[in-house]
Symmetry: C2
Subunit: 316 residues, 2 copies
């Protein structure tokens, strides 16, 4: 790629992570001092944010997905000139990968196999399933859902995406065969759903979205995966469904209550997989942020619309 005339500053750390430098250079810009910069990639806190920015800075990339702190600190009000972008969506990949892991581990009967200390092939055979030809309903088609859909496609799973609008879900790697259903028609998906992944925001409307009725309409082989917020599933109804074998199992990175207290029945159910909200661990975040930065620098260089633009009035 030919080097453009675009200069990107990375701050406040003078020894900026190499990964971010590589992302900037790989996207066709050069890394330089803030005084001459066209853009600023900010890895620090709102408190450290520069009181003044050079007039040359037309874009500021912030390091977090939720940037309420920058809003509260008055950063947007103090700098009306540049476009601000957040890291919204940047961390969705790791959470989607975790959801896929939980789903595959469940469908292929890993929990019981992991506990085994002898070769129980004939006993396990009938329990080993596959996602091929199965329908996975993803409740919530935000960043996580849109990252998960392309991961399911090569496994031969059919995807139903549920979002508020019912507008067709689109994005890189999302085929035309993905069915989109509006959340207010969620009731009609259960009869042809094999597995469910919950990846919707926690709101008053989504609380206990998966309760006794929904669980009863799933299959004895169905796995329910939650990587969003614990409150979207009615925990008591889930425990009951798991105990009675109404569903195959549950893979939960989030729980209600959270943290899940010692002695909670979910810890002991053989068909529940609990991971303690670690689908996006700290050490994976820098690499994910670097990918986001690379994509946005490439767009900036090309004069294309940036990802995750912040509305300075609303603060998100």
């Amino acid at each position: 790629m030919q080097e453009s005339a675009i200069t990107v500053a990375i701050g406040p750390d003078p020894n900026a992570p190499r990964l971010l430098e590589k992302a900037v250079v790989g996207a066709g810009a050069r890394v330089g001092p803030l005084a001459d910069a066209d853009a600023l990639i900010w890895t620090g806190t709102p408190a450290d944010f520069p009181a003044e920015l050079p007039a040359s800075v037309r874009w500021v990339q912030l390091p977090a997905a939720g940037i309420e702190d920058f809003f509260d600190a008055g950063v947007f009000a103090a700098h009306p000139g540049p476009t601000f972008t957040s890291a919204a969506g940047a961390f969705a990949h790791s959470v989607a990968e975790h959801a896929l892991m939980l789903l595959l581990a469940g469908v292929r009967y890993l929990p019981e196999q992991l506990r085994a200390t002898s070769w129980r092939q004939r006993e396990f055979f009938p329990h080993v399933g596959s996602l091929r030809g199965k329908t996975v309903t993803i409740v919530g088609a935000g960043g996580i859902g849109r990252a998960l859909i392309p991961m399911l496609a090569p496994l031969g799973a059919h995807v139903i995406a549920v979002n508020r609008s019912g507008n067709r879900v689109t994005g890189p790697g999302i085929g035309a065969d993905v069915e989109t259903v509006p959340a207010d028609q969620l009731g009609r998906v259960w009869s042809h759903t094999d597995h469910v992944v919950v990846a919707a925001p926690a709101t008053a409307q989504t609380r206990h979205l998966i309760g006794a009725d929904e669980l009863a309409r799933l299959k004895p082989s169905s796995w329910v995966v939650n990587v969003a917020r614990g409150s979207l599933i009615d925990t008591d109804a889930l425990v009951d469904a798991l105990r009675r074998g109404l569903i195959g199992g549950a893979g939960l990175d989030v729980t209600d209550p959270e943290p899940l207290p010692d002695g909670h029945p979910l810890w002991d159910l053989p068909n529940a997989i609990i991971t303690p909200h670690d689908s996006n661990p700290p050490q994976l975040r820098l690499a994910a942020f670097a990918d986001h930065v690379g994509a946005n620098v490439a767009r900036f260089v090309a004069g294309e619309p940036l990802r995750a633009i912040v509305d300075p009035q609303r603060g998100y």
Copy 2:
């Protein structure tokens, strides 16, 4: 799709599985009696195979990947007219899905998390990895390897495929970014390999392909997955590497010896996942065969070369 004039018989079961009928019809042919058929999908044994086939039958699809039994029974010699195809490659998808499951479960630290009965988030955080940006070396680029590569792509993993010839691996969903390395240069991949999936046939050349030297050159975070044959890995060297933490862990659907005897050290190692050679369980095979049949009927209807054509002289 417009219906073609092609008639496909399914035998010997007069109540042929609906899945096979659907595959035939979905591929643009019709299901009819053998007397008028252009092709025969055979789900039975060599002993039951028709002594005579109508002259109209130009193609016979057999139900197994290895068709030595049909060769030994003289089926090909008795029917020199039609083209025979096996089910070679049809069952690779399930094994590849299993390999992906084992790899993801390992990389994301599932075994220890499954054993936990309390919320150990801070302890688990540093151990949760991702395939994103990691290099997965797949030893063996046959059906399983070629099915696995497209599953790894949306996870952001880089793939090195190792085959005998070193000829570029190609196939549906396999991008140009997949690096192919000939088996005799396997030694040069280890320094830039993060994880290994063994999916090569068991031969004199591949015995103990992964031994003490290879394991020593991997990383403390590396997972080694074997879905091929136990003999490709030196089990004693693997146990030693797992005990000493030279690698992150091993996901094994096949072992040496197999079945793995009770009391074997692999059963008790916390970083070993053992599944008892159940990556392709009986109940998944019909669906996989139906997909293979559908693809081949579509090719037959279109006059394109069939998949997995049998050489009647060689018997495979």
